[in-house]
């Protein structure tokens, strides 16, 4: 089969490029071995956020003294239905653009040839351009190898057939804390183990501390600086031994310690596509690999493993492939969001990073519990932290720890970008009874004229 372009992978690093190219008249094939939509749609963002919204709702009803009854199987069936619908949406997008979806395992057989294997049958694609959107796989641990039912990754975690009573989550990164928050909110006994000094090791300690307190309040046992030394099975349950000597019996173990790029066994080396030491695909600013005409985007090129970063990379790759004006993805503008009731959203630098770089900065940290929108949700420790350069002019980082932070960070982006001044933010009537209005309060505070914040002088 002859195509203008072949996109390997239909996840959010792949399908946007396919759509973009098809819209510009190219004949495009997408090769997908598993489910259309990839990790985000099928195992990541979509199912975990569906679970999350239910968990938060149930928890909120209980907070106000109510009781919630539901069937776990209905919850999981509903999560499946949301995912199915999201997946169908992407299939429809591809179809509407006339993109040919080829199901099977794609292997690069040359810079312009992709072999596709599906249940023993082989087909061959010839194409001018290739876009690699290969994604990542969850990594397991020598002491806790995935077994598909009891020791699992994020892929099985939103879909447990029965409600587990006790879950051990190994890894206190984004995936780990999100699942810990959701499960515990639904009454599951959760132990979260993080080997580093604190959970969310990539962010600042003050943020991690507040999140740890939040998780503890939800009933999660958070063990930091701890790891699992041994796991064994015992009559249907799993027994895990921790570095502290403690022995835990649980129903499920979720390993969320990191990802591995899906870059081996697909012919990259043979064709000459350069990989980093960790196996990520090395790309230029225009998302081109070391082989002319082969581009890559999404998780498999490394960087923050986030859907919105993958999407922009995918589009940048497509534009490069077309010879259009390349646009650079601004990685320092990619927000991180953590969906944990008391959500965390960050953009730009952490204090940790600035200190490591030797950059002097001014730290503005304001509590936001005075906002009724926060009070209603009940998160006393909510705060916003903004890091400014030494002269207090440029915003180097924004960190929001508050309900709805995942939405609110988008209101802060123009401030971070320097497109909105602090003075303008202070004069902008951000709507009341939202968390976004914290931006006005923060700006007033920086200007030295805070209304809702009490400055100790």
């Amino acid at each position: 089969m002859k195509f203008d372009a072949a996109v390997m992978g239909s996840g959010i690093g792949g399908y946007p490029a396919a759509v973009y190219l098809a819209d510009r008249g190219l004949r495009v094939a997408v090769v997908e071995e598993h489910l259309v939509g990839g990790e985000c749609t099928n195992y990541g963002c979509v199912p975990t956020k569906a679970l999350y919204h239910f968990a938060e709702s149930a928890k909120f009803v209980e907070k106000v003294g109510g009781e919630v009854a539901y069937r776990w199987s209905s919850l999981v069936e509903w999560i499946r239905s949301v995912v199915r619908e999201s997946r169908a949406g992407i299939e429809y997008l591809l179809e509407s653009r006339g993109v040919v979806l080829i199901r099977g395992r794609g292997v690069l057989a040359g810079p312009r040839r992709v072999l596709v294997e599906s249940s023993g049958e082989r087909s061959e694609i010839e194409c001018d351009k290739v876009i690699l959107a290969l994604g990542t796989d969850p990594a397991d641990l020598p002491v806790a190898r995935f077994d598909g039912h009891g020791i699992v990754s994020n892929r099985e975690a939103p879909y447990f057939e029965e409600k587990p009573s006790r879950v051990l989550i190994i890894g206190g990164g984004v995936v780990g804390v999100e699942l810990a928050n959701a499960y515990s909110s639904l009454g599951v006994e959760v132990t979260l183990v993080e080997v580093m000094e604190h959970i969310l090791p990539f962010t600042d300690r003050d943020i991690a501390s507040v999140l740890r307190a939040h998780l503890s309040q939800r009933g999660v046992r958070v063990l930091e600086g701890a790891s699992v030394t041994e796991v064994s099975r015992s009559s249907g349950a799993y027994v895990a031994k921790l570095t502290s000597g403690e022995v835990l019996e649980v129903d499920k173990i979720v390993v969320a310690v990191g990802r591995r790029p899906r870059t081996s066994g697909v012919g990259l080396e043979a064709v000459g596509v350069r990989l980093s030491e960790k196996g990520y695909i090395v790309v230029s600013e225009g998302m081109e690999t070391s082989v002319k005409g082969i581009y890559a985007a999404g998780d498999a090129v490394g960087g923050p493993l986030l859907a919105h970063k993958a999407l922009l990379e995918s589009l940048a790759a497509a534009r490069s492939a077309l010879g259009e004006e390349a646009f650079r993805v601004d990685y320092k503008l990619v927000p991180t969001t953590i969906f944990t009731g008391l959500e965390v959203a960050s953009v730009g630098y952490t204090e940790k990073e600035l200190s490591a770089l030797g950059v002097k900065y001014t730290r503005v940290r304001v509590p936001v519990y005075f906002l009724s929108a926060v009070k209603i949700k009940g998160h006393k420790n909510a705060f916003v932290k903004v890091l400014l350069d030494e002269r207090g002019e440029r915003v180097l980082g924004v960190h929001i720890v508050a309900p709805n932070a995942s939405e609110v960070i988008s209101a802060y982006l123009p401030l971070y970008l320097g497109r909105l001044s602090v003075k303008e933010a202070a004069r902008t009537p951000y709507p009341h009874l939202t968390v976004s209005e914290s931006l006005r309060d923060l700006a007033e505070y920086i200007l030295g004229e805070p209304v809702h914040l009490v400055v100790k002088r």
Copy 2:
């Protein structure tokens, strides 16, 4: 008593000015007849949003097949506790700034004199500056006069001692639709009557239609172009006759047909403060009334009766009173937000307004159900509408009809302000699994390169 400034009213049109003035060294008194915090804190935003968040959570649990049990009295007690805490927050703000809170009814006895009456006792304040933050009262109807328990306003509506079975809401403005949404989500049988052609008469019909469909889905009977001609009591219930001839029996009637400024009987006319025909206080751009040294802010000056508008006016009034550089409140930048599950948030012009002004415009309207963040909440009709000038350059209005729209509108404000270009928005990695990322999709669509939207050509 001698003060530098007296602020009449401790609502959100009043307390910010008091804080600002006190922070600049003035001796400030706030006169409050009722509860500190005024309408927003005690009867408006805060209690209705508390009720709303509970109602949405309960509804969401039910959507996924769960059941919710709770005691109405616990719900109301919790709402009261949130309000008490918000009120205490404002009291603390005033106290922390050394503002003297004087409880009682204030009457202007001269341009620099305020008389305060409290349980028969009278005191007198002499001051250089007065800021009037008098607020509004709910209006009732000749056929439905408030009786304090069965025919009520927004002031009683979040606090019913028992869960009503059947409620008639007269008035399909913001207050009416918000209460209709919350009550119906909690299983109350709600009839919503709007005299105009459609609910939310100030906005465009397409927005109102989608909201009507949403309310209907929640179980609200929405009657447009209808009104109540007669109300009578019948053994504990109320019987309302509608223009259609229909007779309705209900437990409670909420009248939400508008507001009246609290500007009579407080000595304004005697001192020479000019009022508009409808009784609102006439102010200059610097929020000064027709009497030098007397300023006004908030609902009592008219315009959009919104907390965030009142707050900025309050600060503008304070600055004027101090002779500082005045800043003008940009009324076209004041977003309207409607908290109805499928929320509505708007800034700038409606199509209706542009047509009336004879301004030609381009309408960009995109569905946003493709966003998984919307799919999870299940609002198939969600959309974003942006009105551009004829050349497609300037943004004249933004209308978001989607869950979380109240937060999301703040991310759109820089686009509306012209501080963020469409091209920049298209390149910004707004975080995935939020509704804010609709901004990137909308921008791509305007640029003619949509990924997630299918353009019929």
